[in-house]
Amino acid sequence: MAGADMIRPSRAWRFGAFSRRPPGPALGRLAVLIGLLLVVAVLSLCAGQHWLSPAEVLRALTGQGRESDALVINLLRLPRVVLALLAGGALGVAGLLLQTLVRNPLASPDLLGVGPGAAAAAVLFLAYGAGVVSPGWLPVAAIAGALSCGAAVYALAWKGGVTPLRLVLTGVAVASLASAVTTFVLVRGPANATLSAYVWLTGSVFGATWTDIARLAAWLAPLGIGMALLARHAAIAGLGDELAQGLGQRVEAMRALLLTLAVAMAGAAVSCTGPLAFTGLIAPHLARRLIGHSFGVAAWASAAIGGLLVMVADLSGRVLFAPRDLPAGIFVAALGAAFFVQLMIRARHRAD
């Protein structure tokens, strides 16, 4: 027995005080995933009103091709791809973080009212604010809605501390209230605002501009760094309160910090794209199942799969019904529903 231990080679990345355990085979799977991501990204740049070959895309990107191609790539297609990657990635990581924190695989950022809160604020803005201030403020309104719903859920769930169960139940109540506000505005608000509200509510990356991307990136950069710093604490929080505390975590403070991180990430993403329901639910599932279960690996994989999902959804929306351009949200929702049913069937078989 001891002999079997001895022959096992030690695997570690160690440089001075720095040390990490390499993810092992998961690293290879992650590399394949990144490769797939790049392929789909290139495909997304090629596809559109008229097809450009990968070579033409490359020339356009490096400024050597036709000027019209460069315009299409740099102003229309590339921003969409980048926005899809950023927003999908942020939703994926936020979803993983929430599923870990509440120890429930069915959790998603919408559970804390992020999607519904952003939607209610955006619809209110489109109905009553658009004429008063510049429409450029829409993402700001949306993120304010997302953050205040998240804060409301946390505050209402507080009772000498916050338990995951109270968080989930309060989240359902607050999300339902936010949805009621959205519906009310859609029914009673000015008719001309309703159509744009519907498009926003579906979620899409069309019309993405470099300004949107710069703003989103500015939000996500510090959050991403925070995530990288706190990953090991998130893994411990996923064991549940008693174990986490037994291992020396300051459970309540860490939970508040990590929840804030998740809500801010998802809120920032949703404010630029609309809800994109299900991304934050499915991406972590696929990441864990296909790439690996330890938190660090799953976080990178969730980001990649989230970005991939939104990119594929956007590509489908552009290609399948061309020349019409359908919002990515429709395809994310369709994929999500199919995935959900499959998950239920699998869970039922396992229960048998």
């Binding site: 355990r21 090991r232 549940g240 008693e242 199942r289």
Partner: protein, 271 residues
């Protein structure tokens, strides 16, 4: 000459649970390097006492002393390096492997830079080896049998490398063979690694066999504390469990063995 303080003690400990008093003024000193077992009927406060020692519950009055100092005044990481706690029916996140789980036990020794030092690796390997899980290290915890799973959790607390281990009913939901397997493991950790063990056990006879020090509780107060051979008698079982019994010597270990009888079925008259 300085005297090393006992690793765990409590003074005048009062604990409430949802404003209901559960522990009423306990004074206890747990012997270092020994196995202490808390026994008592359901709701007597034995789990609450264990959680108070682990600082999972804050006392209403009184103090818990860890290495002679108030546990409430020590940092979370400091406490976690001095004692590890395995709660009742812990569940691992789905799909997490044994090795990944045991690795998490190193948390109180790590920081952002240092997340897999030679010491971490050596402790995790030793924990897997001592619990007989080396061959199962890459298996997801949720695919293990009940006994293996409990050993994986013990391995995690072992990797935490704290001199004191607290375990809340480590044998619940296990069949008899696995109960013995887990208790033998805990006994071995006490002997070979010198761990101070404090645990709650439901089974009085197993408690008597494995404990060096037994603490019997009733209604949040200590009824008796001491070596099982000294404290466990008919009167104690009557007071703690409200149960009539005969105490005989365990034919294998010589420890007290409780043979209970209730109000119903009586043994056939033999004479």
């Amino acid at each position: 000459m300085t005297v090393t303080p006992a690793p765990l003690a409590c003074q005048n400990l009062h604990v409430r649970y949802d404003s209901v008093p559960v522990l009423r003024g306990l004074d206890l000193t747990l012997p270092p390097g020994r196995i202490t077992v808390f026994v008592g009927s359901n709701g007597c406060g034995k789990s609450t006492l264990l959680k108070s020692f682990a600082r999972l519950l804050a006392p209403d009055q009184g103090t818990v002393l860890l290495n002679g100092r108030d546990i409430a005044q020590q940092s979370s990481a400091q406490v976690a390096r001095a004692l590890s706690m395995l709660p009742q029916s812990a569940t691992a996140p789905e799909g997490l492997t044994v090795h990944d789980l045991v690795r998490l036990g190193r948390y109180p020794h790590q920081n952002w830079l240092r997340q897999w030092s030679r010491e971490d690796e050596a402790q995790v390997d030793a924990a897997l080896h001592d619990t007989g899980l080396s061959a199962l290290r890459d298996r997801p915890v949720d695919t293990l049998s009940g006994g293996q799973r409990q050993r994986a959790w013990i391995a995690m607390t072992l990797a935490q490398d704290a001199p004191v281990m607290l375990l809340d009913e480590p044998t619940t939901y296990l069949d008899l063979a696995h109960q013995i397997e887990v208790l033998d493991l805990i006994d071995r950790l006490n002997v070979e690694r010198g761990k101070t063990v404090v645990m709650v056990l439901h089974d009085l006879n197993l408690a008597a066999r494995y404990a060096h020090h037994m603490v019997a509780l009733r209604d949040g107060a200590v009824v008796a504390a001491g070596a099982p051979a000294e404290v466990m008698d008919v009167a104690l079982v009557k007071r703690v469990f409200d149960l009539d019994c005969q105490i005989i010597a365990d034919p294998l270990f010589g420890t007290p063995l409780c043979v209970p009888f209730g109000k119903g079925r009586r043994p056939p008259a033999s004479s």
